[in-house]
Assembly symmetry: C2
Homo-oligomer: 186 residues x 2
């Protein structure tokens, strides 16, 4: 695959991710994807012969990897788990607010829409959440936390839930309140 091809492929994935994050699987029409990416319709099916499901699946996976890496970088600088979670909540809050409450979690909406419908997409979402859970669990275990597995899932649920409430209220207040209470879990 040449340089040019790889580039439009990436533009398609980025545009899809953006639209998915705002309106989920059904909210991301392929017409909007090609319009936003600048790529023609034919190129979409050249790079993603599996159609919309492949496009969305790779897009979610890519976004999951990106966020995972960002969290890993934050984790290196954070002295303990508590400041790490606070940092993540702060980062996500900034991203959410500056995007006009559009950019929350790129996985959540698709996960909810597809939980009972599409097996391939459900698996992608499950794997992404699993990787985040694992990274968090490892960090907690390394810090000597007494209950790393349960606590990792609990913290992830807390972050996702706070992000959901923040979008629902169009306010970072839920994120701030959760940040204030996070220490009780760690």
């Amino acid at each position: 695959m040449g340089r040019k091809g790889e580039e439009t492929r990436g533009r398609l994935l980025d545009a899809t991710r953006d639209l998915i994050e705002t309106g989920g699987y059904f909210g991301a029409g392929l017409n909007q994807v090609v319009a936003a990416s600048g790529a023609p319709r034919g190129s979409l099916y050249f790079h993603f012969p599996g159609g919309k499901d492949q496009l969305v699946g790779e897009s979610v996976r890519r976004a999951g990897r990106e966020i995972g890496e960002a969290v890993r970088e934050l984790a290196e600088a954070a002295p303990d788990a508590e400041s790490l979670v606070a940092g993540v909540l702060g980062l996500l809050g900034d991203r959410l607010e500056t995007s006009g409450w559009r950019k929350g979690c790129p996985v959540a909406t698709v996960a909810l829409e597809m939980a009972a419908t599409s097996d391939p997409l459900h698996e992608v979402c499950s794997e992404v959440y699993g990787s985040w859970e694992g990274a968090l669990r490892d960090r907690l275990a390394a810090d000597g936390h007494p209950d790393p597995a349960d606590t990792a899932v609990t913290v992830l649920a807390l972050v996702e839930g706070a992000l959901l409430l923040a979008r629902a209220h169009r306010s970072r207040e839920p994120l701030d309140r959760v940040t204030r209470r996070i220490s009780a879990l760690l």
Copy 2:
């Protein structure tokens, strides 16, 4: 409005709620709504002249009221906040699993899809979450909890996040893990 009219109106709202819960706003096509409810297409616009947004809005509000009442009943029987939250998580877990991972939170998916797009629907979701937060806060305050406002939002975020992860993994493990760690917050 006569008896018959009220009945089909209710059937339309119930069918909409079911489809919304499974696939969100975009996942609930009006063709599916009329097919599931048995009502003809024209009746839909007779009872809901505001179209899909009115139908979905009233459906979300109705579902929010129902769940709020169910929680209130559970709260009367629960000796403390901890057993109340555990009861809610258990109830939601049962509902989720027996529905084949379809019925989670009837508000969440719509809230995420519409956070940045539709002002009326965003407000409905915000109000429903607000009412749940308020009920939880009052209970915590009545129990003499030191930090009812922050804790209420945190607990709601935790429940919503756990429900999201459970649907994403098609497993009640996240709900169980969160249940085990909830006491740290209360």
